[in-house]
Amino acid sequence: MNKFTFKVFWQNLFTILLTIICLGGTSHQVFASDIRIADSKGDNGYPNPFRHYPRGPGYLHMSWVFETLTWKDANGIVPALATAWEYDAKSLTHTFKIRQGVKWHDGKPVTTDDVAFSVNYFLKNPYKFVSLTNITEAKAIDQNTVSIKLDKPYAAFISRVAGVLPIIPKHIWQDITNPKTYDDPKSFIGCGPYLFVNFDKAKGNYLYEAFEGYYRGKVKAQRLIYIKVDDPLMALYTHTADFALIKPEMVKPLRKKGFTVLNNGNGWNKKLMINHRKAPFNNKIFRKALAYAIDQKDIINKAHRGFGTPASYGLLSIDHKYYNPNTPTYAPNPDMTKKLLESLGYIKNQKGFYGKNGAVLTIELLASNISVTGESRPDRDGEVIKHQLERVGIQVSLINQERTSTDSKIKKWEFDLAISGHGGLLGDAVILNRMISPKTGSTNSVKFSDNGKLLKLLKKQSAEMDPKKRKTLVYKIQEIYADELPAISLYYPASYIAYNPKKGVQWYFTPGGLGSGIPYALNKLSLIQ
């Protein structure tokens, strides 16, 4: 009897398992003209200027739907809605010739009125991705021409405004006073290559469909689909996705399987924030002592298995056209640390840790999980830095916390050292202003005001229209920054994407990054036939 019941039970179990496996065998139909993009977060907001998340991926979502005046391809800036542009230094005015015959997704023509309206609308309702502080107004001069007037010269105008600011249709937005809460399908009408069809927030899926009337012509994929995927390797292997951001270790196995792998460039850095408003960190000598104790190469080798590039101490990426090769560096040097700390009156105790007046110096190091795509993945950076500092005799208490908790501590200046990271290092050099100036509200900005000369130079470079002169200024800024060390740039993590070349799309890395410098290979121009 007992045996019989058992038999029945196992038979049933077996049948269930078999059914599941059989279900596994049913193939599903996938459109040949679909491109599936894997995204680990699955949520980047809705793709319009007011509702996408203020991060790189959010902007790229919007870039499928909306167009800008200029754009970038593999060789640099190319015309988009504007066919030609010029700058008049005397009247501080940029003039743009607008392309004719471009249509909005609803079939209406894109006019110069729309362009002027967009700029003026964003002046009233700021688009957080683009700073319009130097712009006074935009005017449609005739059917072909729009002029944008500034009150101060702005060197980064083309790369940071014209190439980033989306143009929105006047007939839809003119009556909208609160664009953030405007929740209507019409708010996704742009003139980009794709129509926004659906965002399923629970599943983390987006659907875009090709816009037939796109002015650059037909696109290679009828539908663009974003799917949420935790493991890019598996998604690519199983053809669940055709494009994914991958981890450096995955490069080899994926290349073997026939995927094309691209490097995203050194546009994102991990940096060690220093609370320079508090003793002893307010002393440049102490900060230098720290810099000499930290071994960038060692962090890359230990925490990232060698996948990364040591960062410039001058903040700007080593691949940036304005990178100053003579920026001061701090090759690991325990003797220097020792000398500097001793010059500040620190003495080693019996245990080998530095202290002053009998009290051991203990530094709190905040570490959180931050990576290029903004997800939480634990890494070992904190552990390695703690190691390095303790090796030279600086005691560290390492605190690993969830990211927002760490960020809010950094914001309130309640920390000693903190590991943070940000991108934009390949884009225009105004990133220096944003990451140094005390006026910005961003967590990863060092908000450094101790050096008046540095602040003056920053102001000057952002207004300098002559590239050569600007380069000299930016060179100088990097030198001063690396000397002051309000934060220590650590490394650029190696960042790769892999895609399935059989889909017929050749993705490429855009030099200087997309939009305002987003180091990600999803350029819409690679989809044009």
């Binding site: 039970f9 179990l13 269930i16 599941i20 496996i21 279900l23 596994g24 049913t26 599903h28 139909q29 996938v30 459109f31 894997a38 699955g42 949520d43 509702r51 998340y53 203020p54 991060r55 700021p126 957080k128 700073s131 953030k180 809460t181 929740d183 659906n198 927030k201 629970a202 599943k203 899926n205 689909i225 799917i227 949420k228 995927v229 935790d230 493991d231 390797l233 598996m234 292997y237 669940t240 903004g374 969830e402 990211r403 927002t404 908790s405 960020d407 809010s408 914001k411 940000h422 991108g423 934009g424 990451m435 006026k439 910005t440 509200g441 961003s442 900005s445 305002s516 410098g517 987003i518």
Partner: protein
């Protein structure tokens, strides 16, 4: 005379019972109110806020003014009283991050949680119970020993491993199952195809959850069955010469059911966050992911709604369990 006394006694008993049930319901009402307050206040305690999370590590650099403006825009908080009033009006507010109604987010995630967790719990409780009862009945036999050892070994493997190992084998190596998601995104399927597609995607996460839940259910059922088998009425039943199957299920297992049902309901109470790891590994949608992302983004209205609704659901489940005890095991009602 005797009759009236008896009637009176009965009346008293009924009244007493009603009083007890009333007490129970009042207690649950208070617990629900506490939970409502906690769901309102706990998320507010989280360090940092939405603006910090959203803008501080982003590509955007905002000025202090813009930040203040944003903070102003996103602070819809007007005290607990207002929160309650809004709840009564069934207004759950808007998600900060997507600016869509929280209710729509919640209800789009709920079915997947119900599907995954519901079926995982049902299947594992059913298999666990039957095998547990059989194992206890055949105590000390070879089958029992094999089963107990297999189950205990299974119990020692965390679900993060099962999840990844299953994926590595069946998805990466054999490619039998998809690696992510709850269905093929935006495939033009017929209803039947879609059903198969959903089942196809469900298989791996479901299997990893069953792996995680089954051993506990089995051991629980076995142990309470062992306890029940000690009771005198089983011996009586045996003495009466009832068939083994009848004793096992009609007498013994029925009484061993109580702890198992309790466990089942308690398992359901982990419904929201219980599958979080599996949801994450298999990129499966659900309330766990919704809550986890909302916590990370400090999207307070979403956190509040998920915590509130899920906790009220849990309270409701436990209350019905309490009332159900009486049906499954009459002795408990007397005891109460």
């Amino acid at each position: 005379m005797d009759n009236t006394i008896a009637n009176f006694g009965n009346l008293l008993k009924i009244q007493l019972k009603q009083q007890k049930q009333l007490d129970l319901i009042i207690a649950y009402g208070l617990a629900a109110l506490t939970m409502t307050y906690l769901s309102y206040s706990l998320p507010n305690l989280l360090p940092g806020d939405f603006v910090t999370t959203m803008y501080s590590n982003s590509f955007v650099t905002i000025t202090a003014e813009q930040e203040a403006e944003l903070r102003n825009f996103y602070s819809t908080d007007a005290g607990f009283g207002d929160y309650i009033i809004r709840l009564l009006k069934l207004d759950w507010g808007f998600s900060y991050s997507s600016l869509t109604p929280v209710s729509s987010l919640f209800f789009s995630a709920l079915p997947w949680t119900l599907l995954l967790m519901g079926s995982a719990n049902f299947i594992s409780i059913f298999i666990g119970f039957v095998t547990g009862v059989e194992a206890a009945w055949q105590r000390d036999s070879k089958t029992e020993k094999t089963m107990v050892s297999t189950m205990t070994i299974m119990e020692g493997i965390p679900e993060i491993c099962t999840g990844v190992i299953l994926l590595a084998i069946f998805s990466l190596h054999y490619q039998w199952f998809p690696a992510a998601g709850a269905e093929t995104a935006y495939a033009n399927h017929t209803l039947i195809e879609q059903f198969l597609d959903v089942a196809h995607h469900l298989a791996l996460p479901l299997l990893s959850l069953i792996f995680a839940y089954l051993p506990g259910n089995f051991l629980m059922a076995r142990n309470s069955m062992v306890m029940v088998l000690k009771q005198s009425y089983i011996t009586t039943a045996r003495a009466k010469g009832l068939s083994a199957l009848r004793i096992r299920y009609a007498h013994a297992a029925r009484n061993a059911l109580l702890p198992v049902v309790t466990r089942f309901c308690l398992r359901l109470s982990f419904m929201v966050t219980g599958a979080l790891v599996v949801e994450r590994i298999h990129s499966y949608p659900g309330l766990g992911t919704l809550l986890f992302n909302a916590i990370q983004a400090r999207d307070l209205p979403v956190i509040q709604a998920v915590v509130l609704v899920s906790s009220l659901m849990v309270l409701a489940i436990i209350l019905s369990l309490e009332l159900l005890y009486g049906i499954i095991d009459p002795r408990v009602t007397h005891a109460h």
